[in-house]
Structures are given as C-alpha cells and as structure tokens.
C-alpha cells in the first residue's frame, strides 16, 4: 500500500513553491500526498493528519518561526493522540536550530539543495520503522 504523506504549511508565509515541488516529487515516488495549502493553523494541520490517517507529516516553513510553529503543531498532535506520527521539516532553517527542533521530536530536516530522491528515500526509511 502507498505511503500517505501530509504536506502542510503552517503560519503566515505565502511561499509554497518548495512545498509543491516536494509534494509532486513524493507523488512521483508512488506516495499519496495530501496538500493542505497555505497559511494553515497548527490545529487544522493536526486535524488533517488525524482524519487522513497519514503515515508521516511534512512541514514547510520559510518564515523563520519554525521553532514556535513546530512546537505548536507537535502539541496539537499530542492533544489529538497522534504524536506517534513522524514529522519532518523543510524550508529555510538555520543549522543552529536543528538540535532544538530534533529534541522537540522533528525526525529530519531538509534544507535548500536537498535532492528530492533523498527526501523520498528518507521518508520511506522513517515510515518503515
């Protein structure tokens, strides 16, 4: 059965080219990708992840608010008892924040220049676990 992925953009950032490129690449890698569209609240992302029963969630953040937004999404997931679903992150994330984000529970972070093949491969590995 295909892997189900939610690709979501939390917060007030209107640039979704990256999210769309990743979504299309995952589609081409044989996954079922649900895209939420721009400017989603953490709770609506968690609701979508719950109702769609996805295997993994990808957040795309370019606004600089990644620390705060990731925490809010993870909290909203916890409230809904779906904190077992892995969350990965993409966008403009300074390396000094990686550690904090990973300790929060973000499973992987893909910065600019990451190959699409690598993202698809990592997702398959993470979901298999």
């Amino acid at each position: 059965m295909p892997i189900k992925v939610l690709v979501a953009k939390p917060g007030l950032d209107g640039h979704d080219r990256g999210a769309k490129v990743v979504a299309m690449a995952l589609r081409d890698a044989g996954m079922e990708v649900i895209y939420t569209g721009l400017r989603q609240t953490p709770s609506s992302i968690a609701d979508a992840a719950l109702q769609e029963d996805v295997d993994i969630i990808g957040l795309s953040i370019l606004s600089g608010a990644h620390n705060r937004l990731c925490k809010k999404v993870l909290d909203a997931m916890k409230e809904r008892n779906i904190e077992n679903k892995p969350v990965f992150l993409g966008g403009i994330i300074p390396e000094e924040d990686y550690e904090n984000l990973k300790s929060m529970g973000i499973v992987d972070i893909f910065g600019p220049g990451t190959s699409l093949e690598l993202i698809a491969k990592r997702i398959k590995e993470i979901v298999k676990k």
Binding site: P2, A29, E32, Y35, T36, S44
Partner: protein, 281 residues
C-alpha cells in the same frame, strides 16, 4: 460521540482501504444504520470541492456529516496528489469529517473500497455522506451505484451542446448545476442543458451557482434535500448500494483464492449491468 472518535474512524478507514478481509469484520461488527449519500460529480476544475465545502456545512446543521473526496492515482507510479481538502477548510473547522482517497486503479471515478468505506461511515453514525468523485471525463458513472442523489456540476467553457448530448456522465445527474455563474457563457450553458434535458423528456432541476452568491448554493442544498425525501427512489438505491458492496466483497474474496480471474471480472460486470438495468425498469 464523533469528535472524539474521529481518530478511530480515520484509522479504520485505512484498514478497510488496505485489507478487505478485515473490512468485513469491522463492518459486520457495527449495527446497520440509515444514512444518506450525496454524490458530487463533474469534470476537473468545475468547482466540485468548493460546492462540497458549503453543502457539507449545511448538512452539518442537520446531523453528523462526512466527506469522501476522491482524486486520481497515477497509473504509472501509483502515487497521487490529493488536493480537494484545500477547498474544504471551512467545513473542516466546523467539524465535518473529511477524508481524501486516491482512486487506486478504479476506473469508475471512485475508489476500490468505496462501498465498504461508505457503509462503515454510515454505521459509525454519520447521517450524511458526501462523495466527491474524481474529476470525471464522460464515462465515470459508478457514482450511480452508490449515491441517493447525484449532483452533476458543469461550468462554462467546456464545449458546446453536442458534448452534453453524449451518453454517459450527462445521463446520471438528478440535479444539474452550472457553476461559476459569473463567468461568460454560464447562462447560455444553463439554457442549453435545460433544452437538452427536455429533448430526452427529463425535467430535472438545473441550477446556476457561484461561490460569490451563497444563496444559490443554499438553494442547491434545498433541492438536494427534496430529492433525498423521495423515499421510493431511496430504497432502490439502498438495495443497489448493498448489493454492489456485497458483490465487491465476493469478488475480492474469489480474487484472493484464484490466479486467473479475468472471466470473473467479466461475469461481475454483467451482473452489475443487469442489476442496474433491473432498477431502471
């Protein structure tokens, strides 16, 4: 009960989608309930998801409502991009349960486990189930086997009246909607659809709708409810839905135990055609 058990419902739909022998177990374990299925169909981009968003919110005022939105799977990679949810933010935040499904090789505009999924939602307490098909071409008419009411959505710019005289999709609507009424050509399409329906002696409702004119969509909602109220028709749909669901179960079970099932597929197709024929007369 539902808000809390959305998680359970969501997980069970995954099981039903991926493991049909467990599907039977899950469905048989729940008591039968009565529910309504509204089908929204039409070509890609005519506005099915946006209309569904508003109609689902109206149904939510009457009872628990779920939306199943189907988008195509790639025949090459098996992957899918499911984008219907983007248009349904309002109804999602109000408490409508929304699930996107990939068509997974099904050619009739639905999803291979759709009969089971709908029955499961019905038995889980959803009174109104809105089924949005993939953006259809001309022949994806499977929705006829499952929906109590079918809304066929059209929009201007998709060909002249010859297109609407062709067999298939244009025959299945209970209500015809010309959406995007503010675009040029909408009124003339409306008039053409009306006259084509008259040519085949049908007096179905034809409505003009537009997202900027909410009252036109509330009117569509009222018309859907009038159709749902026609009881005799509903009983026959209910039987048809159940027979199709059971046929699917049988076919899948036989498929599991036999290597070459091409002939079975053909037999199944005949049974189904026969069934649909019988209901018409």
């Amino acid at each position: 009960m539902l808000k809390n058990n959305f998680l359970e419902v969501a997980k069970k739909i995954s099981v039903i989608e991926n493991n049909h022998s467990k599907a039977k177990e899950i469905i048989d374990g729940l008591p039968e309930k009565s529910y309504f299925v509204v089908g929204i169909t039409g070509s890609p981009g005519v506005g099915k998801s946006s209309l569904t968003n508003i109609i689902a919110m109206k149904f939510l005022e009457k009872g628990k409502t779920a939306v199943l939105a189907i988008d195509p799977s790639s025949p090459f990679t098996g992957g899918a991009f499911l984008g219907d949810r983007i248009r349904m933010k309002d109804s999602a935040s109000k408490g409508v349960f929304i699930r996107s499904l990939a068509s997974r090789g099904s050619v009739g505009g639905l999803n291979p486990s759709i009969y089971d999924t709908v029955e499961f939602l019905g038995r889980s307490g959803f009174e109104y189930i809105i089924l949005e098909t993939v953006g259809t071409g001309q022949a994806e008419t499977d929705i006829k086997n499952i929906a109590d009411v079918i809304v066929l959505v059209l929009s201007p710019g998709n060909g002249d009246e010859i297109q609407s005289m062709k067999a298939g999709i244009m025959e299945i609507g209970d209500i015809y909607v010309v959406n995007k009424m503010d675009l040029p050509g909408a009124k003339s399409l409306y008039a053409k659809v009306k006259s084509i329906l008259e040519l085949s002696n049908k007096n179905n409702e034809v409505l003009l709708t537009g997202m900027a004119y909410k009252e036109t969509i509330y009117d569509l909602f009222d018309k859907i409810n009038i159709e749902l109220g026609k009881k005799t028709h509903r009983n026959s749909v209910k039987n048809k839905r159940e027979i199709n669901r059971l046929l699917n179960v049988v076919l899948k079970e036989i498929n599991d135990n036999c290597l070459n099932c091409e002939s079975l597929e053909i037999i199944y197709k005949f049974i189904r055609e026969d069934l649909n024929e019988g209901k018409k007369s």
